[in-house]
């Protein structure tokens, strides 16, 4: 019933190391439906971040396709890809490295508007930034501050505001909560859920923390050394893992304070 916003088909990315090649992503196929949150989980070095960079068209795959709303993003011309870019944005892991320390918050948030030919300017722009800041739980006056005046969690909110300004359809969150402490993690996860509910944004949520997947994702893909191990709806995969790797990841799960959703879901759909 709902249509696919993102489809990854047979994606492979090789890196040359000396004379040999290493497959960071090996023949991965995934799809994400509109308004859904897909968790990609795996340990460090499993190719999750490479996958994220390719989906964001920041890197080119060795083989395979990425279809965004049925359009192959690597078959598009540079100008067409540019036009498509306002539809997908990214949230990074390190909220300290993802905001330019020399730019004011307003300038940071407005940066993706560079993609839009008739982007708002002046008063209209400031209004839009102010509204966004309030939406992500900051104050409109914060736009004239610099990143160093904010904590890690607040910076991640700024990064989310930046990702939202072009009203994207897809957001890739690459370990977006991993650098934050647990209470702030819960707040940011809540914000991502709200974002999905109010704007209908689809999220590709990349994490090493399977507990976080349990909290917010609708479906999950487990990766190990570049390969897709297991994929499916979150309850199916996490409650009845078929693969031993998934079981091991689950048993190594660190605990996260519940944000209320997990319990609710468990009671609704018993295994």
């Amino acid at each position: 019933m709902s249509k696919k916003i993102l489809e990854i088909i047979g994606l492979t990315r090789e890196f040359g190391i000396g004379n040999s090649t290493m497959k960071a992503v090996d023949n991965v196929s995934l799809s994400l439906e509109k308004g859904q949150i897909l968790g990609v989980v795996g340990e460090s070095g499993s190719g999750k971040s490479t996958l994220a960079r390719i989906v964001m068209a920041l890197d080119k795959p060795t083989a395979g396709n990425v279809l965004f709303e049925n359009e192959d993003i690597f078959a598009l011309s540079a100008s067409k890809l540019r036009r498509l870019r306002s539809n997908f944005q990214m949230i990074f892991q390190d909220p300290y490295g993802s905001l330019d320390p020399r730019h004011k918050i307003s300038r940071i948030i407005a940066e993706p508007l560079h993609l839009e030919a008739n982007a708002p300017r002046g008063k209209a722009l400031r209004d839009r930034i102010g509204k966004l800041l309030e939406e992500v739980g900051l104050a409109a006056e914060d736009m004239d501050k610099y990143p160093h005046e904010f904590s890690g969690g607040q910076r991640q909110r700024v990064a989310i505001a930046r990702a939202l300004i072009t009203k994207p359809k897809l957001i890739v969150a690459d370990e977006a909560t991993s650098a934050l402490d647990l209470t702030v993690q819960a707040q940011i996860l809540k914000l991502i859920l709200e974002m999905r509910d109010t704007h209908g944004i689809s999220v590709l949520f990349i994490t090493h923390n399977i507990g976080v997947v349990d909290e917010i994702c609708d479906s999950v893909a487990v990766m190990q050394s570049g390969k897709l191990v297991e994929t499916g709806p979150v309850r199916q995969v996490l409650d009845n893992p078929r693969e031993s790797y998934t079981k091991r990841l689950l048993s190594a799960e660190p605990t996260l304070d519940k944000i209320g959703r997990k319990k609710h879901q468990v009671s609704e759909s018993p295994p």
Binding site: M56, R85, G97, L99, D100, E111, P112
Partner: protein, 272 residues
């Protein structure tokens, strides 16, 4: 409130005095620095003028002040030319990577292999002596220095996530360099300018000492030192006055550079 590093205070003071003396020399010196007064020759400090006089009876203090203008002028001009070219090459190398970067850096290695004195002799043979030759020789030496510093600093910035965010915003490499890279490496460039100006003064003095710099009678610290050799036993102050001027100027600019680095580098600030 942040405490300023002591090196910044000392270095800044010395540099300010140097620049002040250089500027004042253009309007006023105790005596005309080129005026010859044979009756007053080889006087010690205090006897004829505050810092004495040389073998032509020229006033040392006036010559030091005028020499400061020449030294700073040449050092700054060389930095402006060499620093600008080097910085542009460095940031372009960092943004383009690949064979272009390799080419730039290897050409820089070749440039770096020529000491400024050697290139000055070469240039003097082609262009003739004079301030332009001196400036070009020092600038040639500065290009690789700035190219290396800016490249490595810019590479660190290119690895940051906010560069990825800018790329996702469809910005070109040139635009990212202007908007994100240069503002974030500006502090390092300014530190280099201070330190390299000191080196430029030293090089200019060296070239003038060898007779490759500014033509007489324009006063120059290096030539004052060269002239003083002859009178070392009878008028040692002629060695000390320009010698101390050169040392102090170089030391001051180096301290200023160190101080600026301490001020702008948060890691260093925490450790001190």
């Amino acid at each position: 409130m942040k405490r300023l590093p002591w090196s910044l205070i000392v270095g800044g003071t010395i540099t300010a005095i140097l620049i002040f003396a250089a500027i004042v020399s253009q309007f006023w010196t105790p005596v005309d620095p080129t005026a010859i007064n044979i009756g007053n020759r080889l006087k010690g400090p205090g006897e004829g003028g505050i810092l004495g006089s040389d073998h032509f009876g020229r006033d040392e203090l006036s010559m030091i002040m005028a020499g400061a203008w020449v030294s700073l002028g040449i050092a700054f001009s060389a930095i402006a030319v060499g620093g600008l070219i080097g910085t542009v090459l460095g940031v372009v190398a960092a943004s383009e990577r690949g064979p272009f970067e390799a080419l730039i850096m290897r050409v820089n290695d070749v440039l770096f292999a020529f000491p400024p004195v050697l290139s000055a002799i070469l240039l003097a043979a082609i262009l003739g002596g004079g301030p332009v030759t001196t400036i070009v020789a020092i600038a040639l030496f500065m290009i690789p220095v700035f190219a290396r510093v800016t490249r490595s600093a810019a590479l660190q910035i290119w690895a940051r996530d906010y560069i990825l965010a800018a790329r996702m915003s469809g910005k070109s490499s040139a635009r990212i360099t202007l908007e994100h890279v240069i503002p974030n490496i500006a502090a390092q460039i300014i530190v280099q300018i201070a330190i390299q100006t000191g080196l430029g003064i030293l090089t200019e003095a060296g070239l003038s000492f060898l007779g490759l710099g500014i033509a007489p009678p324009t006063p120059s610290w290096g030539r004052m030192l060269a002239d003083a050799q002859t009178y070392l036993t009878i008028a040692p102050h002629l060695v000390f006055v320009p010698g101390i001027a050169i040392c102090t100027a170089v030391l001051g600019l180096n301290l200023l550079g160190d101080g600026l680095r301490d001020l702008t580098d948060p890691r260093r600030r925490q450790s001190t």
